[in-house]
Every structure is written in structure tokens, then in C-alpha cells.
Symmetry: C2
Subunit: 348 residues, 2 copies
DNA sequence: CTGAAAGCGCTAACAA
DNA sequence: TTGTTAGCGCTTTCAG
């Protein structure tokens, strides 16, 4: 590897001082036209590129914000990132992304690395690992150290920072109510274990919807899936469990999956078993992403507006970054939207 | 925003020198047990965190590698990133991701920002914007500046760096041959405009397969789609064009889509028109991702082994980073694999 | 065992 | 118009 050119080198070669070079390179009127030209030409020759790192050392800010997400394959996270990027770029900030892969250790590692100089603040969604071990010291440290954090999507208790979340509870209630209103009598729920906050809230919404409509809900129609559905054979096991559920309750005429994959898999299994969607069984998912759109039949779902979430998060962070007064921390709750597609006949 | 604690502050408060603090904090035997303990305790109190930025200024390396991808919603890119991460982490490197959103300007901006101090080298897949304007100055500059780049997936000519690509040509030929062998007579191709390198190569493979099997291929059965299929209504227009194609050629009994979305959309349209997959029409896609797996029927496809690609890329980059001798640049060509699912009956 | 000083690349206040 | 100098946070000789 060649080494990078520096101001010093240019200065030495040209027999001028470092500051002259610095000024010339940024077109300061202090420097004569001739010198400026000469320096610029030489710098180009050497492929000089200023070292921002040195700059941020001086400025004590980097104008970049760090985003840590649990998993990159989720369309939802991708959307959030787009939202963050758009807002951040508009406001002169760059965005750097790192992955925790749902692992606590990796989350800690990434935060440590980025927190120490590379960025001005974080936007993050905690990993499942962190949720499980309930260890939030890294977040507290970061905040104490004076680096603001905005949490999105997955929430954790007792942490003093801004948050932006989606109204999982009402979104889920809305979905189930729609199903009930369109005539479903027996709605299965496919959800996560309760330690995943959003799964828990969506489960609550399912239950509440039943209560509100005066319908009984059978716990045996709730399937709680443990985690990591996308890792290899986990998908098969999910399929088997759904199939078992459908066999156990042939009366099922509606399915609500708390995420795309759950809903989609359920739909697929049902189709394989001979059910016609949406005639025999109507299906709704949560998190509106590519899968829903491209499914056949396409999947009705509760859209989370990931981009908005990203925008909001970025806005909250940048605001905090650029003001000195310590405003109290806020929690923004975003509403969801029911996007109707082919897997339901809600108005039927 | 609170300001961050520094060695200097700790030193001042404790009435010792900066270097003592530095040494104590990293457990140097030079410092007495007592002092070390005292300093460590105080540092913790202040939530001290070393500033890596200052460190990399000294070391002139950051131990992190930058990845720039055109688009985050693609499962393939996500897989590549996982591959990169795994290998990089195993070798003591951190990974930072930035998005170009298929835009030339954003690609240039990101490269400039990261190249100037934040990272040691790049792994990147060029944006469509860059491919279109054919302006590669930013890459050349980066390389000249002494920062190694590994290009993956999308290729560009005349650039001196390591590359890792997938054998698009033979993968595509393989897919079409399989279709022909299983009895298809009229295979439609849904591909991109030719300026996208991989689209072009896959189109070539399609043609070659026909030639090799002594089958005629009709240019009218090739649908070249322009770009950005995932941006909102572009999907609808894609659907319309596929429908038109199928109506124009009722004889079509096989479809090869050069990416997941093309293949999937084709399958969906065909199903809507009453065709039974795979009985009436067999479908194969390229790039094996989540969509293929979750589709109904699930989609047979040419798997690209994104993780391997990531691993290879990371390996090439790190090797170059850690050796001084200038080895000639390599291009690794990865083979694809045909993953058979429900949308074909290749052995029928 | 502890400290002073130099230096990483850069900027900016100040001097010449 | 140009140069000198100090300093951003840190490590690392080298002295004390």
C-alpha cells in the first residue's frame, strides 16, 4: 500500500509552509493566485485528499450519524435507513451503518467502535440478544459519555433518550378488527415470544380486538414462534407448526401474522393444504415490505412507514445534536396504515 | 450535549500526567497498582472512552473497511455484507456500510467521506448511475491515493483493482439449458438494459444456451426492462409489459428472469392469466434470495452465494491491506448453483 | 514508578 | 502574501 499524501509533504516539496498549502487548497484569498495554482496542481498530482479524521479531531464533531440495526435483510430496516439517509443528507450529515446481527456482543462492539470518535450520535434498534440478556450498560455509557441516542422500533425500559416507535398495539388491533368485521370467526395469531416487545404488543392488540368485538379468543389459536425464522431450517419448522395448527383447528378462517414472513408462510402452508386465499382463509401481515407486494396472492398488511420512522429519528437526533439546551426526552408514536391487497376481502 | 472526557482532564483532576493516565488505563506494568486503580476508577466515573479517531491519526490505519452498496433492500447485497462482516471480524476489522442509492453523486460523496480517514479500504459495487455516466474518476483517485478497492458483482472496465464476480454467463446458460432440457420450447427472457453488466452477460448466456442446443431464439421474446423496478409504480408497468409479452406469445412455456423480482413478477402475472406453474410455464430466476424461497410456488433459481462473494472480497482486501508488496490484481470468478424448487419440473 | 515531549494531519490566530 | 505556533486526544520513547 502506498501511503497517503499529506499537507506536510506538499509543503516540503514545494518549499512553502504547511499553512500556506492548507489555505491555498481551500482557495483562501490570503494566498496569491500563482501559489494557489501551483499548490493545487501539485496536490492533484499527488492525489492528495484531506484527512477528515484529523479534522474531526479538531472540530470535535464528525457530522456523521451512526445507525445500528439488528439485521440487514429486513425490508423494514432498509426503509428506515432510507428515511434516515434522506433527512440526514438534507441536513449535511452522513450516515454510517453497522450491523449487530441480533447479537448483544456485536452491538456492544459496534457501539464502542463508533462511539469513540467516528460519529456524533446514534440511531439504533436493539438486538434480540440485548433484549434477552437485558443488559443495557453500553447504551447508558454512551449516553452518559454525552453522545445522544435515538432508539427506534424495538423499545427498552428505563433509558433516557429519544425514541420513535410504531403503534404496534393499535395497528394489530386494527388488523384483527378488520378481519372480524369482514366475517372471520376464528382467527389464528402467529407471533413471537413475548420478550420481543413488538411481538408482545401485537399479541395484546389481537386479544383486545377480540374483547372489544365481544368475541372469544382461544389461546390455542396463538402460535408463539421462537426467533430467527430466517435461519435455514427454521423456516421448515415454522411451516410444520403452522400446518399442525391448521389441522388442529380446521375452523380457522383468518390468520394474522405479526411479521411478513409469518403471514406469508402461513399463507403458503394454507395454500398447500388446499385452502383458497382469501375465500377460505383471509391473511394479514404486519410490516409492509417487498415480500407482501410480490406474494401471490399479494398480502394485505399493516404498513409501518419505515421511511417516516427514519426521518423522525434522524430529525430528533440532529435537533439534539445542534442545540445545547437539554430538552426532555421525547417518544414519538407513529401510526400504521392498513394496506389492502389480495389476501383479504375486507369489504366482502 | 455534554462533552466527552479526555485523558487530559483525568490527568488534571488527579494531578498526574497524561502519559501516566494513558499507561494506567491500559494496564501497563510501569504504573503502580495504586495509581492504576485510582485512575481507572476516576475514568469510569467520568465515563471515559478512548477516542479511536486520535488513535488512527497516529497509527495511520483504522482497522475498518468501508462497504458501499447501491441499494440496501436487495437480499443479495445483504448476504454479501454478512460474508464481509464475518471474515472481517474474524480478522480484527470492523465494517462500515454506506449506500449510494444507485446514484453517482452519492457514491462519489460517500467514497470521498470515507476515504478521507475513516477506513483502510473499500469493497464496493458500483451504482447504476455510475454505470450510466461511465465516470470512474472517483475510483481512480481513491486507488491512486493508495487506498485499495475490491469491486464486486457489477464490473467496470479498465480499473486496476481486485474484483470478485459471479459467473453470470454460465449461470444463465445453465438455467436456460435446464429449461430446454426439461422440454421447454419457447423461453421468454426478462432482463435489464444492456448497460447493466450482469444483465448483459445473462442475456448472452440465454442466447448461447439456445445456440448450443440448436434451438432458435426469437428476439421478440426478450423483454428488456429499464431499471428501478422497485420504485413504486414501476412494478405495475413491469406487470403490464410481461402480460403483453405473454399475450403476444401464447406459446411461451418457460420464463427466465435475470433477477428475483423479474422472475417473480412474471410468475405472478402468468398465474393471474390462468397459467399453472410449473405445468404450463416453468420459471427460473437469478439471485437466490428471500423472495424466491417465500414465493408460492417457490421459485427455482440460480443461487449466487452472496456470502461467499463477501468473504472472498474481504479476504482479497485484507490481504492487500496487510502486505506491502504490490501483487498483480486478481479477478475471482465465483460459480453459481441451480437451486430447484417448485416453479420448475426440470427432471420431468 | 512517573513525567516531558514529540508527533500523527489539520486549522486558525497571530506574526512577520 | 506567507509563515509560525499551538492545539485537537492519544501513544511512545526517553528522561528523571
Amino acid at each position: 500500500m502506498k501511503k497517503k499524501a499529506t499537507l506536510k509533504e506538499i509543503a516540503n516539496e514545494l518549499g512553502v509552509s504547511i499553512s500556506t498549502v492548507s489555505k491555498a487548497l481551500k482557495g483562501s484569498p490570503e494566498i496569491s493566485f500563482e501559489t494557489t495554482e501551483k499548490i493545487k496542481a501539485f496536490a492533484k498530482l499527488l492525489h492528495y485528499r484531506p484527512n477528515n479524521i484529523a479534522l474531526s479531531l479538531k472540530n470535535r464533531q464528525t457530522k456523521t450519524i451512526g445507525v445500528i440495526i439488528p439485521e440487514i435483510v429486513h425490508h423494514f430496516f432498509a426503509e428506515v435507513i432510507q428515511g434516515i439517509e434522506t433527512y440526514a443528507n438534507e441536513h449535511g450529515y452522513n450516515v454510517l451503518i453497522a450491523l449487530s446481527n441480533e447479537s448483544f456482543d456485536k452491538e456492544v462492539f459496534n457501539i464502542d467502535t463508533l462511539a469513540s470518535g467516528s460519529i456524533d450520535g446514534f440511531i439504533l434498534s436493539v438486538s434480540k440478544g440485548t433484549l434477552q440478556c437485558q443488559d443495557f450498560h453500553h447504551l447508558h455509557e454512551t449516553i452518559n459519555q454525552g453522545m445522544p441516542i435515538v432508539l427506534f422500533d424495538r423499545q427498552i425500559p428505563d433509558i433516557s433518550c429519544d425514541k420513535v416507535i410504531v403503534d404496534d398495539y393499535q395497528g394489530s388491533r386494527r388488523a384483527v378488527e378488520a378481519l372480524l368485521e369482514s366475517g372471520c370467526k376464528e382467527i389464528a395469531l402467529i407471533t413471537t415470544e413475548d420478550y420481543v416487545d413488538v411481538g408482545f404488543k401485537r399479541t395484546q392488540g389481537y386479544i383486545e380486538a377480540h374483547i372489544k368485538k365481544g368475541m372469544p379468543h382461544k389461546p390455542s389459536m396463538v402460535l408463539k414462534v421462537d426467533d430467527q425464522f430466517f435461519w435455514e431450517d427454521a423456516l421448515e419448522s415454522l411451516e410444520r407448526r403452522i400446518e399442525a395448527l391448521l389441522r388442529l383447528h380446521p375452523c380457522i378462517d383468518g390468520i394474522f401474522g405479526v411479521n411478513e414472513v409469518y403471514a406469508l408462510t402461513a399463507m403458503k402452508v394454507a395454500q398447500k393444504m388446499g385452502y383458497i386465499i382469501p375465500k377460505d382463509i383471509q391473511v394479514i401481515g404486519f410490516t409492509d415490505g417487498v415480500l407482501s407486494k410480490h406474494a401471490y396472492p399479494s398480502l394485505t398488511s399493516i404498513k409501518q412507514h419505515g421511511k417516516n420512522m427514519g426521518r423522525e429519528a434522524a430529525q430528533m437526533l440532529i435537533q439534539r445534536l445542534e442545540s445545547d439546551d437539554e430538552r426532555p426526552f421525547e417518544t414519538k408514536v407513529l401510526q400504521t396504515e392498513l394496506v389492502e391487497r389480495e389476501s383479504t376481502q375486507l369489504l366482502g
